[in-house]
């Protein structure tokens, strides 16, 4: 069972307590009426969908109920880190390099 660390509960819990929430750090436009159709479609449907480290939203649905963010490797399914909503997006490139160095050792 994949374990995920909830930054609010401060513990690791099995994946079944969580729900995936899509790509992280995408703010809903403050005034959607200002977007043209192309831009609105971009917001609705287009996601980076990175092969590798990806910043994602997760919800501890059957735990504290909070949304938080995670950096997960979409190839290995490994969680690199989790962080609270509102905290800044980590530098994914730096994390990827650090991870490669760690694997090389």
């Amino acid at each position: 069972m994949l374990l995920i660390s909830c930054p609010y509960c401060g513990v690791e819990r099995p994946e079944t307590e969580f729900r995936y929430g899509g790509e992280a750090h995408i703010a809903r436009p403050a005034d959607p009426s200002q977007l043209n159709d192309e831009e609105w479609a971009q917001f609705l449907y287009m996601r980076t969908n990175t092969r590798g480290l990806y910043a994602e939203r997760w919800r501890h649905a059957h735990g504290c109920g909070r949304f938080f963010n995670a950096v997960r490797d979409t190839v290995s399914d490994k969680f690199v880190c989790t962080y609270k909503a509102g905290e800044p997006k980590p530098d994914l490139d730096a994390l990827a390099r650090a991870s490669q160095e760690k694997d090389a050792r």
Partner: protein, 186 residues
């Protein structure tokens, strides 16, 4: 201190084995409290103690309890007979402050799971580490028991309160009873 959860008087246990028993508990008053810091502090006036702020912790006193379910969500408990007064007291304590107080006394039912094999039995459906170091006495959490969402509160080394929404309780008990058959066969 008066225990909030008491077995239903005159009702046979759901399960009684040497190593583990399950008993349904009598109705109690339950409030869902959510709110910001100022309201969280003010609730102490109605409880007689401060809301527990440490994640997955509980505080209790004078027949009441407050269980941390999330950073802005607590389950407040009191004896059933005090529901009206308790709800009024909590609402008065947070009047004008950013908060939500909702009566959910009938939304949930609880059982007491007790005995040296209580942890073993719960782990038949609850996929988290319930050993004492990971889940000490006093810890409380929302989690899953098979497909049902539950609240688990460890009251003693060998005793847990298991709460869930009323219509899910038959399912939860059915699974625990099935696992208990393995215990009695052993």
């Amino acid at each position: 201190m008066a225990e909030i959860y008491t077995p239903v008087a005159g009702l046979a246990p759901v399960l009684r084995q040497d190593a583990v028993s399950i008993q349904k508990t009598a109705p109690i008053a339950r409030l869902s409290f959510r709110g910001r810091a100022e309201a969280q502090a003010a609730v102490a006036g109605a409880l007689g103690f401060a809301l527990p702020q440490a994640p997955l912790s509980a505080s209790a006193g004078a027949g009441k309890a407050a269980l941390w379910l999330g950073p802005d969500e607590w389950l407040l408990l009191a004896p059933e007979a005090e529901l009206v007064a308790f709800e009024a007291a909590v609402n008065a304590a947070v009047a004008g402050l950013a908060a939500s107080v909702t009566d959910i006394s009938h939304r949930q039912d609880a059982v007491l799971v007790s005995g040296p094999r209580a942890t073993w039995l719960l782990n038949a459906g609850v996929p988290i580490d319930l050993a004492l170091p990971a889940f000490p006495v006093g810890m409380v959490t929302r989690t899953l028991c098979h497909k049902a969402e539950v609240i688990l509160w460890r009251k003693a080394e060998d005793q847990f309160v298991l709460e869930c929404w009323r219509t899910f309780q038959p399912y939860v008990l059915e699974h625990l009873l099935d696992a208990a058959r393995e215990l009695s066969a052993a």
